[in-house]
Amino acid sequence: MGPLQRVINELGGYSGEPIKIMEVCGTHTASIFKNGIRSMISPKISLISGPGCPVCVTPASYTDRLVEYALKEGHCVLTFGDMMKVTGSGLSLTEAKAHGGRAVMLYSPLAAIKMASGEPDTQFVFAAVGFETTAPVYALLIEEIIKNDIKNLKLLTSIKKIIPAVEYICENEAGIDAFLCPGHASVITGCGVYRQLADKYRKPFVVGGFDGEHILSALYEIVSQLQSGRFEMKNMYPSVVSEDGNTKAALLINKYFETSDDYWRGIGKIKASGLRLRQPYAGYDAGSAFSCNEERLPQGCRCADVILGRISPADCGLFKTVCTPFAAVGPCMVSAEGACGIWYKNSI
């Protein structure tokens, strides 16, 4: 029997205590569905989604502010695709466009330099949303803005740090036995940071890649640790994740951004969980501090419970009835990394 089959047999035949594993990152959630992982493992092992969808945790007031900019004369919002469809307390950027506003999707923040240089009379605002994975790209964008002396491009930031959110969950949510840590954010942060969490909370923290085999082997490692009473950090994605991460990227982030308390939609304030532009670069900020003081969710939407691993999307009363990707109620149904959207696509 090959090692993969043996891993599948072990996970499928698991009959011990029920185990709840949180996959922090939305890309893991998508891959778990794509590879049919749930059908291969014992029903005693439940996999729940975590807070790793940046659009889902961005406060509604931030989106409202983007919409204001999109509708403002002489202004244009630049953003990744996922932010276009999410609503704050009113319109989405897509709807703002229908009302005559201006919002453009970009594949890379660095493409904003070309746009801003080409239209000096337009004030561009980049929707800088994301986690540690994207933060160095925003730092590079600031560097390019300075180097090219661009005067008409600012960032509205809602950049989050994933580790404080995981720590928040460890402190406040009971019943999660282990974490499948995000592969891509760990490329920047390194996997070493999870060792302290494993020691402090006495739970396995395993960094995993995104192929089916990667996920199965990470789950096997978690189950093995739990069965033998161990709680360790283990890096099961060493081709890209190192102990210390990309230190050049981390230095660049630190040059332009500082850590601050931040608001997570549906959750509230999490201490030291955000990145803000440092004071010397405040001139490149489009007023981020004014758009982060609440965390409203539409009525009936349980995105917060989904993000915190309390329920699965299917447990929300609006899932697939009132709330679909075509008429999304909450942000978790909108984003490609949102658990509700991923569950919906894989359940039709």
Partner: protein
């Protein structure tokens, strides 16, 4: 989301990378890849150079797991 690709050409602080048979120009300010390297690309930037290819990594993973299950130390250099 980040995706793997292979460096085809270098040009200053950008590289041409083949990502699933599409070529894209990406920024390499955060790393120093060589032509032929596998890299992880996100939002128009290379975040990291892959140290092993996917097949090699999966072999490593299963060897690790075998060790854990059998209690037999691997002969491979970690």
């Amino acid at each position: 989301m980040a995706v793997p690709g292979r460096v085809v050409k270098l040009c200053g602080n950008t590289a041409v990378v083949n990502i699933m048979n599409n070529t894209c120009e990406v920024n390499i300010s955060l790393v120093t890849p060589k032509v032929g390297d596998y890299v992880l690309v996100h939002a128009g930037c290379v975040l990291e150079v892959l140290k092993k290819d996917a097949a090699e990594e999966l072999m490593w993973l299963f060897e690790e797991l075998k060790e854990a299950a059998d209690g037999t130390p691997s002969t491979r250099d970690k």
